[in-house]
Symmetry: C2
Subunit: 442 residues, 2 copies
């Protein structure tokens, strides 16, 4: 039999195409052509059918879908650990907003590179970002070869990036124009929140999203203070407020969703809104625990986000899964809540669905984009091995990821980044950190 040639074959002792133990293939392989998965299954079969010049095999390696981080602010990596153990509003108003006021495009570019380095090294293959100077976020992302949805955050007050709001809308138009047809980067509309954006801003951005068929990503019901502010101003909570404005729908990606009423959950479910659950940030800022189990029961697509490194303080999706699987058990006093497979689903195909990428990413299947990671399972904390989703959620860490393939391209091999100069990024961020620390002392 003549073998077909493919660009890349990834093989290892274990292949987990989706979030279930049932999907496990022992001694598995994935054949990749260009950006796409051509075939997958038992190594012996794949290697019989396909030849390649590039075969990356890992003894004890587990091949799995890359993790999808549906809510982050990559460029906040430079504020990691700058201000901790503070409530959300104090943290934002006294620490983050002041340092952000003096941000420059270069700071955003460099910090995004840092966060992307961390994301790749901890198993994330795509992310959804919301921040200032997002052209710089997109530039860094494009250089890295990661997959991302990126939006320029708009709010009522002047932005250090674009100045007045009218210029903000032009900036967003530019972004859509610049990345039209880009293989890895999509642009989203990203109003900050109902408490920082007037109804006119929210609805106008909604029209922009509609025009471009883009996601509409927003912080929603992050804590009780937000709900109370919204009730004071608009006579209803944030979910109802957005709903009345006609802004809830299948393209809406709502981050946080902590302070929800039962009615809010029903509304989100009816409108097919997607949720990004950011538990570690919600814990660190004492925002609360999102009612994830009830949201899942209502049929809502729940994905996982790390939020920015300033309120987490990492962007490690393995750590986030670990927390998500455990917090809902104790929150509901039910040890069966958020089991390992549900949690892994939220971080993979759940994430893909939240981003509208379910036909592209989130699981390994023929015809999907080749976004995958390989973990080293031959380690004390992953031994013995009875159930892979259990290990991935309860024991694995970002540092267990050896290789990362995004869109068919190897972005990390044996923990060495292939498209980014890690040492250069770290050196530059040390210098930036010193400058931020000194600025903070003024």
């Amino acid at each position: 039999m003549t073998k077909s040639h493919v660009d890349l074959i990834i093989s290892g002792d274990y292949l987990l195409p989706d979030a279930t133990q049932q999907s496990l293939v022992k001694k598995g392989a994935v054949a990749i052509n260009g950006d796409t998965i051509t075939a997958l299954g038992e190594s012996v079969t794949i290697l019989e059918r396909y030849s390649t010049d590039r075969h990356l095999h890992t003894d004890y390696g587990l091949i799995m879908p890359g993790l999808i981080n549906t809510h982050t602010h990559a460029a906040m990596a430079c504020f990691r650990g700058l201000a901790d153990d503070l409530p959300l509003m104090t943290w934002l108003e006294e620490y983050i907003f002041p340092v952000e006021a003096s941000r420059t495009p270069d700071m955003v570019y460099q910090s995004t590179l840092l966060s992307i380095a961390e994301m790749i090294k901890s198993g994330t293959t795509s992310f959804c970002d919301m921040y200032l100077f997002s052209k710089e976020v997109a530039r860094a992302t494009a250089e890295s070869g990661m997959r991302a949805l990126i939006g320029e955050v708009l709010y009522d007050f002047p932005s250090p990036c674009y100045g007045d709001l009218e210029s903000g809308f032009s900036y967003v138009d530019d972004l859509f124009e610049q990345y039209r047809g880009h293989p890895l980067i999509s642009i989203t509309t990203t109003p900050h929140s109902v408490y920082t954006c007037a109804p006119e801003l929210l609805t106008r951005l909604g029209r922009v999203a509609e025009d471009h068929g883009s996601l509409y990503s927003i912080h929603l019901s992050e804590n009780l203070a937000e709900v109370n502010t919204c009730k004071d101003r608009f006579g209803c909570g944030p979910v109802e407020h957005l709903h009345k404005l006609g802004l809830l729908g299948p393209q809406t990606l709502a981050a946080h969703c902590v302070a929800l009423s039962d009615k809010d959950i029903d509304t989100l479910a009816e409108q097919q809104v997607k949720v990004s659950h950011c538990q570690e940030s919600n814990m660190k800022l004492a925002s609360g625990t999102a009612p994830v189990v009830r949201m899942l029961q209502a049929g809502i697509t729940v994905s996982i986000g790390t939020d920015g490194a300033a309120s987490n303080n990492d962007v490690d999706m393995f750590g986030e899964m670990h927390t998500v699987a455990k917090i809902h058990k104790v929150d509901r006093m039910d040890a069966t809540a958020m089991n390992a497979e549900q949690t892994l689903y939220a971080a993979t195909l759940g994430g893909a669905r939240a981003l509208g990428h379910q036909n592209k990413t989130g699981s390994l299947a023929v015809g999907k984009k080749a976004d995958m990671i390989v973990l080293n399972m031959n380690q004390p904390h992953l031994t013995p091995l009875y159930n892979i989703p259990s290990h991935l959620v309860y024991a694995a860490r970002g540092a267990d990821v050896l290789h990362s393939v995004i869109n068919g391209r190897i972005l990390m091999e044996n923990r060495i980044l292939q498209t980014l100069d890690e040492n250069k990024i770290l050196d530059q961020m040390c210098i930036m950190g010193q400058s931020i620390a000194e600025h903070g002392k003024d």
Copy 2:
């Protein structure tokens, strides 16, 4: 000036002698003679005053006290991921007790080696263990060179280790005899709990502890079911029950302490009982969240334990700190609760105090035992660096630990274990895991 000779000098870009940012020494070093810290401070000073044949320097390295895990069951590592997402009693009675019934000394020995490998690789330098076949636990520990307190768990029903209870007491006597004067291993008395030990057993073990001046370590008020069982049997909760039996005191190490009344907290504080807080296990088994903030306010020494890998599912104290610092914020809806320094203290000097080792371990000081770890801080998730306790609690992971020194001996260098054969341990545990999995199918 003539230099004094020391056995070992450890140096790095950062030296954090205790759990506070204030203690930070930039470009620091520790001089070690035998098992003891001779001097510490700025590298330039230490290297001026001391010569050595063995100088382990790490660029970007952070030298800090090793972490102290005050409650674990090391030999349960072989059950990691065997049964998840189940309530405590179902998990114990339907999964753990049945597989434990057929445990052999060799399984305990091998599993302990695995857990010790994981502990060293994630920064723990001493631990307090409670399990069956504890002579095997002690043998594995002695071989590894780790510091530990080890106890044979006693309960009313026959043990697969010692058989009837009378033999259990002889087994404990043997243990005390065997390890008298051991430089690294101390023996503790370890009744399982108030719901598995009759009052006579509890008090008799109390006398054994008194005779040997040992710790009295017990699971206490782990969940509401335990409290209710105790109330049904003895007319009061577990804390009051032990108190009435005269078994609470400064040598009592109570693990879990989740379901506590205000009066219980007062009693624990008055009796100077030490607490081992095992939050991840308490979350995974939906036991609840221990009132740690209130315990600390009452003046109780709170330390941190991982519990066994079967209910965690790792023994990574960095992960545990991460969870501890965050859960109490959301549990109390107070972002200032359990700040980074408090959490780091609980995992270092708090742990040492819980084990009665405060003059030996838990911080780096002249005359203390040389138990320390060195982390690689030159990584994306630890950059930039504003505050070291923040990074250690909110961003660092076990895999960041490069070197481990225990009792003046290098047990890990550049992540290679020096006293244990990691690959051999992993191979043997894979085989054991297959056998346990097959046994589970019977």
